[in-house]
Symmetry: C2
Subunit: 148 residues, 2 copies
DNA sequence: GTATATGCAAAGGGTTTGCACGGTT
DNA sequence: AACCGTGCAAACCCTTTGCATATAC
C-alpha cells in the first residue's frame, strides 16, 4: 500500500481511521471490487464494518485520489487503487470476463477527441463492451445475452 | 419511423401492440431517453401505460434490433432507435451535456482492440466521460463534481 | 472537548417479477 | 380459444441519508 495514504487523507482534512485503512487495503487486494465485494473483504478482518461505511469511505478515498471507479455495466461500479497503471476494461458480454489493457491503446482516440471536439476525457472511467477472443470463436448457445 | 417494425416484431414471434408502437415512436422522438423519460413521452398519448411495460417493451425492441441502449453513468441507461447513425456519447462530467459524435472517430481504436486483443467491440454501448470544451475553459466553482 | 466518522435502520432511486385481466392472433 | 402482453403492486438491488454513539484529533 502506498505509504503516504495517511498524508493524503490529512491534507484534505480527513481523519485516519481503521476503516479507511481496511477499505484501501481491500481495494488493492481485490484489484477490481464492487462495494459489496469490498465489504466482504474488509469484514474478513473487521466483521463489524457496515456497508454504508464502505460507500462513504470509497467516496473519501476517491476524493483524495487514492482510488477510482469504473462502470462495467448496469450493476455496481468497480473500484481500483490508483497506483496501478491506468487501464481500460474490456468486458465480454458473453462470458463476463474482464480484460484490462493499458490505456495507451486508446491514446490516438483520446487525442482525436481532444483536438477535434475539444473534449478532455478519462477513457478508463467506463468500460468497452463486446466479445472476447474465446467467445467469438465459441459455438453459439451458452451466451449470457445480458445486454449490460 | 421505419415501416417494417411490425415485420421485425412478428419475425421474432412478438405481437403488435399499441404500447410497442408508442414506445418506439417515443424513442425516436426523444433521440436519447431514459425509461422514465420514455414513459412520460408515451403517456402524452396514452396516460394509462405503466413503467413496467416500458421496461418490458424496451427489452423486446432491443431484442429485435429496433433500439439499443447505452450507459452514461450511474443513473438510468439511455435508449436510441437503431436507424440513427451509430454514435459515441461524450458526457461532460461538469455540465452534464452529452455530445454525440460519429463512431468512426474510434475506428482505429476499435481495430486495435480487435487485432491486438481479439476483442470485438461495440464502442457505442458505453459513454466516454470527461470535460467538454466549454467547461474546460470555464473558471472553477460551478462544477458538478459528481464522478458518474 | 469538539468535530468528524461510524453503525444502524429507514428511505430512496431504478428495475424486475407474480399475478389476474385484457387484447392479439 | 389459446397465449401473449399489460397494469398493478410488491419485491429487489444498489445507494444514500438521519440520527445517536463512538472515535480521532
Amino acid at each position: 500500500m502506498s505509504d503516504d495514504w495517511e498524508a493524503r487523507l490529512r491534507e484534505h482534512g480527513y481523519r485516519i481511521t481503521p476503516q479507511r485503512q481496511l477499505v484501501l487495503e481491500a481495494v488493492e487486494e481485490l484489484r477490481h471490487g464492487t462495494p459489496e465485494e469490498i465489504l466482504v473483504e474488509v469484514q474478513r478482518t473487521a466483521s463489524g464494518v457496515n456497508l454504508s461505511t464502505i460507500y462513504r469511505t470509497l467516496e473519501v478515498l476517491e476524493d483524495v485520489g487514492l482510488v477510482t471507479h469504473a462502470h462495467i455495466g448496469h450493476g455496481a461500479p468497480t473500484y481500483h487503487a490508483v497506483d496501478e497503471h491506468v487501464h481500460i476494461h474490456l468486458v465480454c458480454d458473453r462470458c463476463r470476463k474482464i480484460l484490462s489493457i493499458p490505456a495507451s491503446v486508446a491514446q490516438g482516440f483520446v487525442e482525436t477527441l481532444n483536438k477535434d471536439y475539444g473534449f478532455r476525457t478519462d477513457i478508463s472511467h467506463v468500460s468497452v463492451h463486446g466479445r472476447c477472443d474465446n467467445c467469438e470463436a465459441m459455438p453459439r448457445g451458452e451466451e449470457t445475452d445480458d445486454p449490460l
